[in-house]
């Protein structure tokens, strides 16, 4: 099993604050990998280091090749990053958001993919012209997810999809992610504070503490780990 994404000793800082202190992790092709940890542990920065929205050192390999450069280049390489806090263009319509998701693609089947998205998210059909900013929080998160999928990414990176959403909607979003993974073999790297649902969805997980990987392993083994259970699962 080869790793689609591999981070080797990645460090990043915001001014004087070192956010990542040497993160190494692997995301095998076709799997869902979760990154857990408290606020400020470096989860979001890990994703930002991959997508090139923060300066970093260390090596990042994507499909065996060094990944470097700007966010535009990373998007083009096939990595879709759904940032924290509903990454949608609030002033553009739902359909325009979806069309933008397909921006890096050269083929003409964008319409077909929009229909495919409407199968996952039926409300897209009748509300295509609605301004994205007027959608509910859950719908915006789903739109952000759909937009990311429009680029037909090889790797989907989700940052805290559960943030501020009702439990039922969170379950629905993770159900769709799992479905995409099972049916289409989509590789997913998800950062999540809700450890329970993340471990239920992912095969492997990494727990970060102050910018380092504290524990990692299969979701099943982490659920058994006392420290992880106490700190993140709360029982």
């Amino acid at each position: 099993m080869s790793a689609l994404l591999e981070l080797r000793d990645v460090e990043a800082r915001y001014g004087p604050v070192q956010a990542l202190r040497g993160i190494s992790l692997e995301v095998p092709e076709g799997q869902i990998v979760a990154v857990l940890g408290a606020n400020g542990a470096g989860k979001t920065t890990t994703l930002r280091a991959v997508s090139g929205t923060v300066r970093r050192t260390g090596e990042i390999l994507f499909a065996g090749r060094p990944l470097r450069g700007s966010p535009e280049g990373v998007a083009k390489a096939g990595i879709a990053h759904v940032p924290e806090g509903r990454g949608t263009f609030t002033e553009l319509s739902v359909l325009e958001n979806l069309r933008l998701g397909a921006y890096t693609r050269r083929d003409r089947d964008v319409r077909g993919d929009i229909e495919r998205m409407a199968e996952h998210f039926p409300w897209i059909q009748e509300r295509g012209d609605q301004q994205a900013g007027t959608l509910s929080g859950g719908e915006q998160q789903m739109l952000a997810l759909a937009r990311a999928l429009m680029g037909r990414p090889r790797l989907l990176m989700l940052d805290e999809p559960s943030l501020g959403l009702a439990p039922m909607i969170v379950r629905e979003i993770f159900r769709i992610v799992r479905e995409l993974n099972e049916k289409e073999g989509l590789t997913v790297l998800v950062v999540e504070q809700d450890a329970r649902i993340a471990l239920d969805t992912a095969g492997t997980a990494y727990v970060l503490e102050v910018g380092k990987v504290a524990v990692s392993g299969s979701s099943a083994s982490l659920r058994e780990d006392d420290a992880v259970r106490r700190s993140y699962l709360g029982y």
Binding site: E72, G137, Q140
Partner: protein, 294 residues
Amino acid sequence: MTEFFQQVVSGLASGGVYGSLALALVLIHRATGVINFAQGEMAAFSTYIVWTLTTNHGWSYWPAFAATLVVSFAGGVGIHQVVIRPVERGSQIRVVIVTIGLLLLINGSMTWIWSGEVRSVKSPFPTRTVDIGGVAISLQDIGTIAVSLGTVILLWLFFRFTKVGLAMRASAVNPAEARLVGVRVAWMLGLGWGLAAVLGAIAGMLTAPSVFLDPTMMQAILIYAFAAAVLGGIDSPIGAVVGGLLLGVGLNLIGAYVDFVGADLRLPAALLVILVVLLLKPAGIFGKQHVRKV
């Protein structure tokens, strides 16, 4: 009544010019968040190009017009790449100061290249009038309205229906997000400057026949364009055009029917519009409060 309609039509013609230049201001304001004070001088410079091509090189008007648009587009992109982009990341006041510097630079270079002498630019439209329902309307006015509104419609189609147009809008409203979907935001901003320069060039070329061409030709027009953009809503492209037309017609009618407002008071009237709108409805007619559900 006949005179009233004539005033309205000629108001629409000058309003089309204000609207085009206002639209240029709005494009750059949406993308960069600043008012481009050099917009008027850029337009005047473009007008000198069409004058040089037609007068000194014997080009006929429309090829020269098209060539001027191409050169202006390249110039706009170039200005963005060379002088705006390096300061874009800092505070907006830096960009504003750079545009004021550009104003002086372009103004000075026009005087240097073409001397400050007043030139006359011929009109592409015949000077005749046509009779429409008993109202004599000049073809010059009709042509001006047609060209400026045609440009606006083309631009609207471009933003609404093309991939690049959509990417430009995305870059303007949320640049960080746009980069994540793979849009080269810096190029899109440059493209915006290019389009703004084209709009300015059109406004300048439509203005020149009815006034005379000199390096300060567009300075008053720029004030009207500010007023139009503020009236319509500084972030609203439709607002810029509607604001321009309203202002053009309004100023014309006031000039014709209110005795004490002659040509002298047109400019102060435009400034009054800016002041009143900013005091009573700062967002303008079409400027909307951003709708957002959290």
